[in-house]
Amino acid sequence: MATTVVTDAPASDPVRRARRTTVRRTAGVGWAMLAPAAVLMIVFLIIPILLTFGLAFTNARLISPVPAKFIGIDNFVRLFGSATFWKSLLNTVIFAIVIVPVQSGLALVLALLVNAKVRGTNFFRTVYFLPVVTSMVVVSMLWLFMYQQNGLINALLGRLGIVGPDWLGDPRTALFALIVMSAWQAMGFHMVIWLSGLQTIPGELYEAASLDGASTWQQFAYVTWPGLLQTRTFILITITIAAFSLFTQVNVMTQGGPLDSTSTVVFQAVRTGFQQQQTGYASSISLVFFVIVLAVSLVQRYLTRDKELKR
């Protein structure tokens, strides 16, 4: 330890000189730092996206001795004529529309609760965050058991004299069951984001507000809520994107059933591409999905940016 301190101190002078003289070296370091992320992005994101654009117009197969042939828009004609696709798209949209307000709202409530200056908040923060660090597959398996006809949830409902449905086996309740479970799992993450937002709001504002005689609700509406603008935008966009890419829960719990009531666009693409080996068709699904997500993100960006300008 001691030696390190001694050697470090005189060494700081040459460092400054080096920095002044060789900007190029710093730039090089910058590129080196960027390289891992850039390479990964190019290999695992940019190239696959470009490939998807190409493959979507071919009859490429996962396993085939015959080279892929260009078949124009056949895949898209087939896709738009497929009832499963429209149902999957509808499910995805319903999932997103419901889960964005529910999950962010509940997460905000949790954040406000654990932001209170009382003993034991760290304990609750940890508890609420636990589902997030648990693997989604594990969470799905657990909820699969809880949702069974004679599972935990129906047993609890039974105590109240309610005969619970077969949550995942009934087309009317399956998607709802997935939404509840997904919101519960991811809520903790957004709670932490809200929490960080809450803690950036200066305490003086609350002091000033309470001196002016603002009620708790008024403090929330006129101090907290406006102060969370940036956080809100971030949460809105991340939840929306996560909602659109719904896959794991569906794959583990329902495989899209019953009667396509929980099928999603991503699930359909994976199923078509890997299990059914139709790479070309799966690419066309992904391409359509890409366009939809892009459109949604652009709209969101436009809306949130517009608000910022007005202020």
């Binding site: 050697t7 470090d8 060494a11 700081s12 040459p14 460092v15 080096a18 370091v29 080196a32 730092m33 390289a35 891992p36 390479v39 290999v43 009859n59 197969r61 996962l62 396993i63 085939s64 001795p65 015959v66 077969d166 995942l168 086996g169 087309p171 495989q255 899209g256 059933g257 019953p258 009667l259 396509d260 199923r271 299990q275 059914q276 080996q277 139709q278």
Partner: protein
């Protein structure tokens, strides 16, 4: 000093990156495959070929296969086989990835229904000169495509209706035999009696909670017993008429009503054998693999033959099989191994370790329980008499997943005729590319 540290850090990052990239570019080749053209080295060292198996998670079967490999390596000095085990979940992906990178091993095991697909794709090389040996094998363990043999397996499994003598006696149900299995009416009457008694949560459990290959494997024999099929097997071009004809619709309606009338659960538990042993169901439609635990629990188990729904009883066939790849640099070595490993004693060894039906008569005599008159002999007889192979066409993986989805939809109340028509249309479209 700090500069040096920084340099080192940057250099280290760069090196790590370069290494990870290097690893990436090598792709799936991590399992040490022999250098290309390694066959030329016929000097002092034996030329090594690699062999892949899905058995990383199955300790007993892996040990049996390793024994065969060791015996082969010890029996001669010319070739050396190196065994690589993969977890079953990622095995098919590994093979597909290796095939596109032209890094397939010389020998590999293949789930029988995939053989046609992989043979068509050019992954596999036909096995020649073994017709004599393989003629003694159960037909369902010899995987063929377009008239050529591509793989053979040591064992098969059969399907059976598991129940208990005490249950049959209590409800006055006849004990069926292989020559006189239950007829449809008889079976449905039995189910009704059991259900009306209210003693069982489900009269029957056909493992509807399982997903994947179980659906075509377990339920297409029921469809075939009604007189339908997954595809017209004369040319494998269309499923029209067989999968959406009157008989197939009759099957689908019956299947849907099983759940609607409360004989089975739409989604059974994850371990149907366990549920049966706990008295939750009176009849269990399952593979012969369930025999060992069930027999431990009950002394009066009856393994009944498949019910005859009009076209005779049917069970599925085909399990894991061994073959050689088309990318092998030393085909002679691979062929030598396949010949060596097909001996009866190895069939017996693997079948015994896995509790499955040995494929040859000679091997059956060596496996306790499977000898003629043994407790497990029924499964061998069912397999011989009732087996219908899953369609041996490259389109099978598509047929299997599409069938699973449609069967699930039907069970959940979709209209049988409409669903089957849509399924036929999809399968026909997919089959077009193979003609």
């Amino acid at each position: 000093m700090t500069v040096t540290l920084k340099k080192i850090a940057v250099a280290a990052t760069a090196v790590t990156l370069a290494m990870s990239l290097g690893a990436c570019s090598k792709g799936g080749s991590t399992p040490a495959s022999p250098a290309p053209g390694g066959s030329g080295a016929s000097g002092a060292a034996a030329s090594e070929i690699s062999m892949w198996t899905h058995n990383a998670g199955n300790k007993d079967e892996l040990a049996a296969i390793q024994t065969i490999v060791d015996d082969f390596n010890g029996s001669q000095a010319q070739y050396k086989v190196k065994l690589q085990a993969f977890p079953q979940e990622s095995y098919n992906q590994s093979v597909t990835a290796a095939a596109s990178a032209k890094k397939l091993p010389c020998l590999l095991d293949i789930d029988q229904p995939n053989v046609a697909n992989w043979a068509w794709a050019g992954y596999l090389a036909p096995i020649t000169g073994m017709d004599d040996t393989l003629s003694k094998y159960l037909p369902s363990t010899v995987a063929k495509y377009n008239g050529k043999t591509y793989a053979y397996g040591y064992y098969d499994v059969s399907l059976t209706w598991v129940t208990r003598k005490s249950i049959l006696d209590e409800f006055g149900i006849r004990v069926p035999t292989i020559d006189q299995p239950w007829k449809a009416d008889e079976f449905m009457a039995a189910l009704k009696k059991v259900k009306d008694s209210g003693k069982y949560a489900n009269a029957a459990d056909i493992a509807t909670g399982w997903t994947g290959e179980w659906w075509p494997y377990g339920f297409s024999p029921l469809l075939q017993s009604f007189g339908g099929d997954l595809i017209n097997r004369t040319d494998y071009k269309t499923a029209d008429g067989v999968l959406n004809g009157d008989k197939a619709v009759a099957w689908a309606t019956w299947f849907q009503n099983l759940a609607k009338d409360g004989y089975i659960a739409k989604k059974s538990g994850s371990d149907p054998s366990q549920d049966f042993m706990n008295g939750k169901s009176a009849f269990l439609w399952n593979g012969s693999w369930t025999a060992v635990p069930v027999r431990e629990k009950f002394s009066d188990v009856v393994f009944a033959p498949p019910v005859d729904f009009g076209n005779g009883g049917k069970v599925g066939g085909g399990s894991w099989t061994w073959g050689q790849s088309a990318q092998c640099s030393n085909p002679e070595a691979a062929a030598a191994y396949l010949k060596f490993a097909s001996a009866d004693k190895y069939v017996a060894l693997v079948a015994q370790k896995t509790n499955n039906i040995p494929t040859t008569d000679e091997a059956a005599k060596l496996v306790p329980g499977f000898e003629p008159g043994g407790v497990n002999d029924v499964f061998r007889q069912y397999s011989k008499k009732f087996t219908v192979m899953r369609p041996e066409t490259p389109g099978y993986p598509y047929i299997a997943t599409a069938f699973e989805k449609t069967a699930k939809d039907i069970l959940n109340g979709a209209d049988p005729k409409t669903s089957l028509d849509a399924l036929v249309k999809d399968i026909n479209t997919n089959q077009q590319q193979y003609s």
